[in-house]
């Protein structure tokens, strides 16, 4: 009997200790999710910075299909003028708008790269090859940063919803909301189709 009583007491103590070790988990996971998001933004910025150079190179080297180029310029302008609200990560609408704008630039750029295949003179210039490598690298970095953010948000949101995090949330972190999850980019899966029958100009 004494053993059982002691056992229960021990179990309660262990549960308490376990619960307390989780006291910092919500802010810790929140910080890592924020850091992962900063990396996402950083890589998107890196891509946006590449675009003017890319456009100038393409314009200079070939009599390039105008509509494709314009689509890139417009998408880039939209991304550049985008206002990011402070609650972006917890606001579904803001997040959707962000995703739509970045996605538009992604598909405009990949279309540009597909069309560029038709211009051997352009492809042969060293400047274009460099930019192409940089763009590919940046797109890959974006994919990695997004994946890291998705993982970090999964951990954070799980912590908010499971014991003992849910207890700490109600006690100390009541204002914390689950963060928006990113979709795995459908634009990245499909190669854009380009109709070469109608060459611009």
């Amino acid at each position: 009997m004494r053993f059982v009583g002691l056992g229960i007491l021990g179990l309660i103590a262990v549960l308490l200790i376990w619960g307390f070790t989780g006291i910092n988990k919500i802010p810790t996971h929140e910080e890592s999710a924020h850091a992962a998001w900063a990396q996402v933004l950083n890589q998107y910025q890196r891509r946006a910075d590449l675009v003017p150079n890319l456009v100038a190179t393409v314009k200079g080297a070939a009599d390039f299909e105008k509509s494709t180029l314009e689509a890139v310029v417009q998408a880039r302008a939209k991304v550049g003028s985008m206002q990011l609200p402070a609650d972006l990560l917890t606001n579904p609408d803001a997040m959707r708008a962000f995703e739509a704008n970045q996605g538009a630039l992604t598909s405009a750029l990949s279309r540009l790269m597909v069309v560029a295949e038709q211009y051997p003179n352009l492809k042969a210039t060293e400047g274009f090859q460099t930019l192409q490598a940089q763009l590919e690298g940046t797109e890959n970095r974006i994919a990695v940063a997004r994946k890291d953010y998705i993982d970090a948000v999964r951990v954070y949101n799980t912590e908010l919803k499971t014991f003992p995090g849910v207890v700490w949330k109600s006690l100390l972190y009541a204002d914390r909301e689950p963060m928006q999850q990113l979709q795995v980019d459908p634009a990245k899966q499909e190669v854009p189709t380009v109709d070469f029958g109608t060459s611009g100009n």
Partner: protein
């Protein structure tokens, strides 16, 4: 009674710790600086590559591994580069100065995955240049060993700041402007010489230090070694990653 409490505590610790490691897929074993799973390298070439990497690692601290895979199992080569680099922890923790040079001969794809810390000295464009003009010409002729060796040499040169693309332009380059300009080359020459000299000097210094520490390494090799520390062994036998991380930098190519 205490025993029961301790057991419960220990069990709970496991419960707490375990979820973090649950999703790592099986990686090939990191058997050395060259992991030739596809079997395209002879022993002599493998040893030569390993010792080159080891020399650079001792001089500059960067960790490089050459990996060949027989099968990408439906994943992209970018996925594999990241998976292997992060999974093995190539590069030193905090410095993230690792490189994974990955070749998939059956899919005819290759990738140079560059750790965060080396993205400056080996930017994507340079990695692409190495792949396109140093490695692929060899691969196209079926010379796998030559391609891997040339690629590694170029990577090491880039890290040392002395990389120059091969003078003979590949077929992809049909631009008419002359590639080599003497005025442009002179500062590079000076720079190259000083870098090589510096490298040699630091190599010597490392070597001297290493000799004194050698006994210590052997003495403690049977004991526990913390996984996060840099544990460079003198032979390739017990090589391990230093905990570096990767962010998707580098370049890929096909041939």
């Amino acid at each position: 009674m205490h025993l029961r409490l301790i057991t419960a505590l220990v069990l709970l610790c496991f419960v707490q710790v375990f979820p973090g490691y649950a999703e790592t897929p099986d990686l090939p074993a990191l058997t050395g600086r060259v992991v030739d799973r596809a079997g395209i390298l002879s022993d002599t070439v493998e040893t030569a590559l390993s010792s080159k990497i080891e020399a650079h690692e001792k001089a500059a601290g960067d960790q490089i591994v050459v990996v060949t895979l027989p099968d990408l199992m439906g994943r992209s080569i970018e996925d594999w580069g990241l998976l292997l680099g992060r999974g093995w922890g190539i590069g030193q923790k905090g410095k993230d100065n690792g490189i994974v040079f990955l070749i998939a001969p059956n899919e005819r794809e290759l990738r140079i995955e560059v750790g965060y810390g080396l993205e400056g000295s080996l930017p994507d464009a340079t990695a692409n240049e190495i792949i396109q003009s140093d490695v692929i010409p060899h691969f196209k002729q079926g010379d796998m060993e030559g391609g891997v060796t040339a690629g590694l040499d170029a990577i090491l040169a880039a890290l040392g700041g002395t990389y120059q693309p091969p003078v003979e332009p590949s077929t992809a380059y049909d631009n008419t402007s002359s590639f080599i300009d003497l005025d442009f080359l002179i500062p590079f020459l000076f720079w190259g010489v000083s870098v090589v000299l510096g490298l040699l000097m630091s190599l010597r210094r490392r070597w001297d230090k290493k000799r004194n520490r050698h006994v210590w390494y052997i003495a403690t090799s049977s004991g526990s070694s913390s996984s996060g520390s840099r544990s460079f062994s003198s032979s390739g036998s017990s090589f391990s990653g230093g905990g570096g991380s990767f962010g998707g930098g580098g370049a890929s190519g096909k041939w």
